[in-house]
Symmetry: C2
Subunit: 363 residues, 2 copies
């Protein structure tokens, strides 16, 4: 054990993998060699053992409670990230002879569309490409006969988020990788939710897929076993060895969310944190947001300095103040502050006050 006074913790604004609750990390640390008297690390446990089963079911049950999932939804604990779901979704849920709707709001929805095009017939039902993804498109053109309607609920690179889900579409399939569990979700017409864990939920290496049971009936026979949702649905996500440690830490993170009051409390917290930064952007001065107000993300706040040549200096001085990973995605540049669930309010206050200080010295 290190001298705890020597432990350093920075304010980590990474877009993912991202900061985790300190209490979750402390718990994982304390239990690392001996999970609750079992004499084993969670990393060493047979996935067929009763002690691991409690951890595994614990996460699934926690997700059910937090999201208010009825028995009509299967909760699958998978691997491969949202990137693998880009292919698994159409392989499983886009029957031959049907078409699927995709809304294009940035890099990730374009990738989802590209993988679906390899599998079957697709259609763009809305896009904000013409305005460089600075908003969620208002005008949608859903095909009522589509197999499903796919959208990315939050766009980490563009810094946009759907304020509410569209209606009048085929069953919604949501890539919620970057805002799952950050706010309550209206499940009306939601056919499926998928998410990599490494932003709001836990460490990388776990992918969540929540699928409405009636959609499983569409799955064609003959898919590779590991790519067929029915494989893990029929085995409680224990068909093969799951990513046990990531599942354990995600379970601790869900407990932490439940302890704080669930998704409504999370939304209030997340809105409060985002407002601390957006209020700076709205004041004018040296900062300007890159996103239309009504499409702003509570998770990833993207902005520029009016004098963009000052941006490297902004990032450098921020890092000197232990405010790290604030650089915008390499494809768009600028500044990005990611404020997922576990980002403490105190860290966001540090960033806001750094922005004020920087403005005073460079404005």
């Amino acid at each position: 054990m290190p001298d705890s006074s020597a432990i350093r913790r920075v304010h980590n604004f990474s877009a993912g993998p991202a900061t985790l609750p300190k209490s979750v990390l402390e718990r994982a640390q304390a239990e690392l060699l001996d999970y609750r008297g079992s004499g084993q690390s969670v990393m060493e446990m047979s996935h067929r053992s009763p002690v691991y089963d409690g951890i595994h079911r614990g996460l699934i049950d926690s997700l059910r409670r937090l999201l208010g999932l009825s028995a009509e939804y299967e909760v699958l604990l998978l691997q491969g990230g949202a990137s693998l779901q880009f292919s698994m979704v159409p392989m499983n849920l886009l029957p031959a002879g049907q078409s699927a709707d995709y809304v294009i709001t940035g890099t990730w929805s374009k990738k989802a569309l590209a993988e679906a095009e390899k599998v079957g017939s697709v259609r763009v039902a809305g896009t904000s490409a013409p305005t460089s993804f600075d908003r969620i498109p208002n005008a949608l053109d859903p095909d009522p006969e589509a197999a499903y309607f796919h959208l990315t609920t939050n766009n980490t690179i563009a810094g946009t988020q759907w304020a509410r889900l569209p209606s009048g579409t085929a069953p919604l399939i949501l890539d919620a990788s970057s805002d799952i569990l950050s706010r309550p979700l209206d499940l009306t017409n939601v056919g499926m939710i998928y998410a990599g864990a490494q932003k709001n939920l836990g460490p990388a290496g776990l992918t969540l897929a929540i699928v409405r049971r009636d959609l499983l009936d569409r799955i064609p026979d003959g898919l590779p076993t590991m790519l067929d949702y029915r494989t893990q649905a029929g085995k409680g996500s224990l068909y093969n060895t799951p990513p046990c440690w990531a599942i354990y830490v995600a379970g601790l993170a869900c407990e932490w969310i439940e302890g704080l009051g669930g998704l409504e409390a999370m939304e209030t917290r997340n809105r409060g944190k985002a407002d601390l930064i957006y209020s700076r952007l709205d004041r004018g001065g040296i900062y300007r947001g890159t996103v239309q107000t009504e499409s702003r993300s509570l998770m990833n706040i993207t902005f520029r300095l009016t004098d963009t040549t000052l941006e490297p200096r902004f990032l450098e001085e921020a890092a000197d103040a232990d405010l790290v990973n604030l650089k915008g995605h390499r494809s768009v540049g600028g500044i990005r502050a990611s404020l997922y669930n576990a980002m403490p309010n105190s860290s966001v206050k540090e960033l806001a006050s750094f922005m004020d200080d920087f403005e005073r010295s460079h404005g």
Copy 2:
């Protein structure tokens, strides 16, 4: 931090996930909240950050050194387990119009064959099914024109292991999930090695794929991006977010192996541990091994009690002595002691002496 005197550690003979070196767990524990002064947990780091890059490349370099891999091999850090490789191997490496050879030595090679049958033409080039998988088949019938020759190097359920790799075959594809890094590997004619990490290498959630570069030229275009080996080969296994924590712990485990002297030292250790148990089985008495001598696994030792009705009592008394997870796989019953790299010699001695004691009281 818990009072370290309260920490309990059992002798964990699980077939996987399996025991990890205590020093590796202690290191992971010490660094959990602050990886070497970075102010972040490895679970929180951007996978695009220089600090994570050192961890990621560190594992790849360690694997290259340990296995003696030349530049003609790509080392890929994947997800999904060997079960996903059962499909990815033929999707990538079995061209239309060709056939692949499979040797059937138990449950896992049967599953690999079944997935390959969905993709293309396959052929059984050897099997020990007629003797209930009690040996590695002597008589092989390789097709010299085959696209590849697939075998499972170690069989966790049957308790068998290839003492040496066959020659005169098409390029070998090895499912080495349960004995990778446990002994030196002759790379002559090895086209690919794949392995889930959770036995000899680290925690579950990481899958290793080592592919000879010339085989990448066979891959057909149009595969789902995440299922095409070229995707991660072209991006240093950073196309999307990798399972960072599992990679980190596997890297610590590889450092531990290198510190002990590499794969030759591992083989000596592993042979010594296995001999402690096999010598009991060879003595006659109340135990009998289930595997032909020349096919015995150094990793998973399977045996029965002559009076099989005593087996539940054996397992119960063993567990009372903190010797846990000794039950044979549910498909075959009996006893199984898994002695992967990290299983300490002292734990195997405990098991051997428990076997002696049990024999004295019940023989």
